[in-house]
């Protein structure tokens, strides 16, 4: 057990020998969902890029080059700038966020996956992702800030003992909140109308939306 405690203090990618401190089922479920989430978010980026190509009839770019990624979608992004500089500026402002997701996508889809570490913050809170300074900088540029819990930031960054870790749940909820803001403004710039201009209080959806706002627990 003493060896296990020492291992945990250092942080360990290997759960063997850690005994009751770690449940392998937690590790599997958490990393299954966080890696799946990354692939879904890049799917949403691709949906936005394809909708843009369709909206502006951009047909000169190969389909696999229609992307918000700077490396694979460079020609597409130049074309977007020609057709709609305001939309291109919106993409540029969110570049750290887009880069952050594509950096993770390459790891998850093409390389070794997230680097896992078991290193408790508190009891039963131990499954983290090891990140580097570049990722931390991207997260910081996505408006990360300190949380009420001090050791961990709003986006889940934990900077301690010479290593930077990321909590998957904190990270996931902030990423998805940021993504919905990004996509909503993106569609507005593409000319989509807000449903708030068409509200009919007798409509079943609007009634359910109003009910939801009163009855949900989620703030």
């Amino acid at each position: 057990m003493n060896n296990g405690l020492a291992e945990l203090k250092r942080g360990s990618p290997y759960p063997e020998g850690l005994g009751v401190f770690v449940d392998l089922d937690d590790l599997l479920v958490i990393f299954y969902h966080i890696e799946y989430l990354i692939s879904m978010i890049t799917g949403i980026f691709d949906n936005l890029a394809n909708e843009t190509a369709s909206h502006y009839n951009i047909s000169s770019i190969q389909p696999n080059r229609i992307s918000l990624s700077k490396s694979s979608g460079n020609d597409f992004l130049k074309e977007v700038n020609n057709r709609d500089p305001v939309l291109k500026k919106h993409i540029d402002v969110n570049r750290p966020f887009i880069n952050l997701i594509y950096e993770f996508r390459d790891k998850v889809i093409h390389r070794e996956g997230f680097e896992r570490i078991i290193s408790p913050i508190a009891s039963h809170w131990s499954n983290l992702i090891v990140i580097n300074h570049q990722i931390k900088d991207y997260v910081k540029q996505c408006s990360d800030k300190p949380s009420p819990y001090k050791i961990i930031s709003e986006w889940g960054v934990i900077d301690r003992d010479g290593r930077i870790d990321l909590d998957p749940f904190y990270f996931a909820k902030n990423v998805v909140n940021n993504l919905i803001r990004f996509a909503d403004r993106y569609l507005q710039l593409l000319g989509y109308n807000t449903f708030l201009n068409n509200i009919d209080p007798r409509d079943a959806f609007i009634k359910d939306l109003e009910y939801f706002k009163r009855a949900t627990i989620r703030v």
Partner: protein, 110 residues
């Protein structure tokens, strides 16, 4: 007594610092038991995520209960895929939340 103090008394192993966090814990706990507060039946999983999406987005075309509402015409396949991916993304975050707060290694339940 503040909400987060009450939540802490039910889940003493959780650190809950404010009301927003307490609401998140309660919402995720309810979902882990199959309860989706905010829907009329309290059990409508897909409807919960569909409505939640439109509390966050004003410009996505509204697809609700397999019908196209605003505008009342079918969006492109790409936009339909985007909307469905958002539902899956929210669902995924809540699954991570269940694991984060009430995972397998927490043996005690209320």
């Amino acid at each position: 007594m503040k909400l987060y103090t009450i939540v802490h008394s039910f889940f003493p192993y959780l650190r809950v610092a404010n009301t927003e966090h307490a609401c998140e814990v309660l919402d995720i706990f309810a979902k882990s038991k199959g309860l989706y507060f905010g829907t009329r039946s309290r059990g409508a999983l897909t409807s919960w995520y569909q409505i939640y999406l439109y509390t966050k987005s004003n410009y996505l075309p509204v697809v609700y209960k397999n019908a196209f509402r605003f505008p009342p015409k079918r969006p492109s396949q790409t936009i339909q895929a985007l909307i469905f991916r958002f539902l899956k993304a929210f669902f995924c975050v809540d699954y991570l939340g269940v694991q984060h707060y009430f995972g397998y290694s927490r043996k005690a339940t209320i």
